[in-house]
Symmetry: C2
Subunit: 483 residues, 2 copies
């Protein structure tokens, strides 16, 4: 399989990313006059919609119910769970005025919705018989980030926050739900051909208010780690804080157990970043807003042109009937070469060129975006060939993205090697760990990297010692430069 | 056609509405601890989604492109068009703090998006060749209402605001767009079987910043008028305020023309209110989250029960294959009668009952929600019969809703009659009007009703005189008690 052309992509990834989201009309960033907030443009909106659609399909199939909660959370509600508010209060936007009047109670723009959802669950859920209950919503969340903002990656308005919230009668069922959520996210990322590392976040970096947090991370083209999904076992922390009790099977009353899990705009950023190349986007066929573009090649001869038009129409109809998202680029003012460039930039997986030669011979020139390879196929086979090509493109994206990630994970007990690895932004390094926070924090400093957490599921570090304190290592701690 | 049972519905409509949205699990209102904000529950969310889907289908077909703009609008952007800000500033929510820090610039929660969209259009649109351009988004908007809030009808967070924004090279094309928008909304409301009156809002009640506003109103079960859609010709007001210029065909630079048009959560409220009855929701089949519910009737005989299960499964499969949204209610702890009640409350258009008798004879008992009529059909005809029933239900809802509205519009030059009409909350009254604001305002006071505007398209009031000043009447002015 041909390797993609990735000079600009690899040498200056952040700049490439800014270029591609602007040029391909995905997301307008940096011109809207509020820092950390951008605009989803029509093409980007459709890509985002397809990706959210995939998430909805998976969650709905697993019995989640979609809801929509208010954006504004009154201050006292947000403060109910003390660890939670500590984690968020530095970055909450506050509404203080309605019209010219100061409000009696300050209202937070939701940074996440555990508090408002738990509050309403106290009215809705009374008995273990209603459980498990799984809600989700897709909403904007707001965080007054003090770190440098990045389009789709570190925003002050995260416009695509899918947050799921579940309720369970006991700890074991919440644990089962964590596993279900992890499997759901694996399927989601797999179908987007996005590779991931799953870690249990260290105690000091878990979600504010959770018992523990499982995180999905990936490595971006510049070797930095990006968190792309999290799953939290919330225990009874919120149900106790809201005194949310239900009747159990033995007729006693108790606080139920909860989990929550989320993904964000970052998924779209990752699809763009991991699969793209110097020519622009390379989209997996299942989420490409346009899956096939047909470019008619003008013929001088009138009779030829008629044949071209007929074949174009025939191919378009065949693909549409098969449920494939197809577009014919008939713009007259633009030359074929410019159209090729235009659709390659936008990552359309398959291009079909039809000129006089093709029309006369009843064949098509078919071009795949990922490898830029071209070949000729009989026109009557177009649906089968395009479907086969979609599979091949997906397989190729999946394999090359996973290969990229695997090459960026290094397991070593040698601190020099570990340091060199993260310093050169080569990705994630795994170092033996004794389990003590102080050792991990010390190593964070020494490596100039962030402790991402330990492998999930748990892995023993047999025969290894903690390079900081020399004690027996229990497991591995992952470190990386991170977004 | 049987008339619906509507005692509770007609005698105390507001209470009926609160009851039905709660009992049918559409929208939880009044318990969320911020006034004027409620929660879309799973069933209501699906209904809302289907209704938005219908709107999207129509707008997409007409060449609108969906986008997503930030929620927060900086104060100076909102203030750029002076009439616009005057119209909204009393009811804008302001974000003043990020974390513990006061913000440099106050940020408004969008009350509508003309300002932010026009601002970005200045970057995106440079030439008449790109026009017309039609954008839309479906977002939450916020208005600090001082009037009494009502669920879905007068909210402080309007969660389902579909706002379209278009750009044109000249006045005529903007006028053409107004017509297109009106036709689009007609189709939308027609497909929801919602009747409407179209008025040109009086000068003093047009959208803040518009040249003029065309409004769709309907009459609710209590005789009050509800605005359900508006279309604005914005002229060059915003493009001038933002100094947004484009190149025209003659190479000169000029400010383009704009329109905008919106619908909101109120559409869902209207579908619920106009079609419902004392038993609950009555949903038009095209937007019902569940179109057919199958209730198996338990049989004592084991052999019979096996036959019932087989027929249930066969019917479910046939309907699903035909693309019909079907649910089998297999709950064991609930009796058939309770299930009937449960699904009637939720407005499922068609119920199919299958017991031992039906299973043995290969027939189905089929029940329609709108008229509560039951009949028996051969099981093998189920798809055809259900589809026919959908058509009949839609026709019935459409006709009875339009009949209701037509009976609530009175044209009269007699002020006593007009007064009696609105006082008894019988709907809309049309009175001859000379065209002078002072006469309309005086009549508003006298009638205790609001001037809704004049008929659109324009209608002459031949030979009539203004009942206030005695001058020759130009057209009719509509008055009503309104939400």
């Amino acid at each position: 399989m041909a390797e993609p052309q990735r000079k600009k992509w690899s040498e200056n990834y952040p700049r490439w990313f800014d270029w591609v989201i602007g040029e391909a009309e995905v997301y307008d960033y940096g011109r809207y006059p509020v820092k950390g907030m951008g605009v989803w443009m029509p093409y980007g909106f459709q890509l985002r919609k397809k990706i959210i659609g995939l998430m909805r399909e998976i969650l709905d199939r697993l019995g989640h119910e979609e809801v929509l909660f208010p954006l504004l959370i009154p201050e006292d509600l947000l403060r109910r769970e003390s660890e939670h508010v500590k984690g968020f209060e530095a970055e909450v936007y506050w509404v203080t005025h309605g019209g010219r009047r100061p409000l009696d109670v300050k209202l937070a723009l939701r940074p996440t919705s555990e508090t408002s959802i738990t509050y309403m669950e106290t009215f809705w859920i009374k008995s273990y018989k209603q459980l498990p209950k799984k809600y989700y919503q897709v909403v904007s969340i707001f965080r007054y980030e003090t770190k440098a903002t990045r389009p789709m990656i570190r925003l002050r308005e995260v416009t695509t926050f899918k947050e799921a919230h579940t309720v369970h009668s006991n700890f074991e069922d919440a644990e089962r739900q964590v596993l279900e959520a992890v499997e759901a996210y694996k399927e989601f990322f797999d179908r987007l051909a996005i590779p991931y590392v799953i870690s249990r976040r260290p105690e000091w970096d878990k979600f504010a208010g959770a018992l523990y947090t499982i995180a999905f991370d990936t490595v971006m083209p510049d070797g930095r780690k990006l968190q792309i999904g999290t799953v939290h076992n919330l225990g009874q922390n919120f149900t106790k804080a809201f005194d949310f009790r239900i009747q159990l099977a033995d007729e006693s009353l108790d606080h139920p157990w909860q989990t929550s899990y989320g993904i964000s705009d970052r998924v779209v950023a990752t699809v763009i970043s991991l699969h793209g190349d110097d020519r622009g986007l390379v989209l997996p066929p299942n989420v490409a807003p346009i899956q096939v573009v047909i470019v008619p090649i003008p013929a001088k001869d009138e009779e030829d042109m008629k044949l071209v038009k007929e074949l174009v129409e025939q191919v378009r109809r065949a693909l549409e009937t098969a449920g494939i998202r197809v577009k014919v680029d008939e713009r007259e003012e633009m030359r074929p070469g410019a159209k090729f460039y235009y659709w390659e930039l936008r990552g359309v997986p398959v291009r079909i060129e039809i000129g006089a030669k093709e029309a006369r011979e009843g064949v098509l020139t078919i071009h795949r975006r990922d490898t830029l390879e071209k070949r000729t196929i009989p026109a009557e086979n177009v649906v089968v060939e395009v479907r086969r090509l979609f599979d091949e493109i997906y397989q190729n994206l999946y394999e090359r993205a996973w290969k990229y990630l695997r090459e960026r994970i290094k397991r070593t007990a040698d601190l020099e090697e570990a340091k060199e690895w993260v310093e050169n932004r080569r990705g994630v390094v795994e170092v033996p760990w004794c389990g003590r926070e102080e050792c991990a924090l010390k190593l964070e400093e020494e490596l100039g990297a962030e402790a991402m957490g330990t492998p999930w599921p748990f892995e023993k570090a047999e025969g290894e010692v903690c390079p900081v304190c020399g004690r027996k290592a229990i497991t591995w701690m992952r470190y990386s430069k991170s977004y």
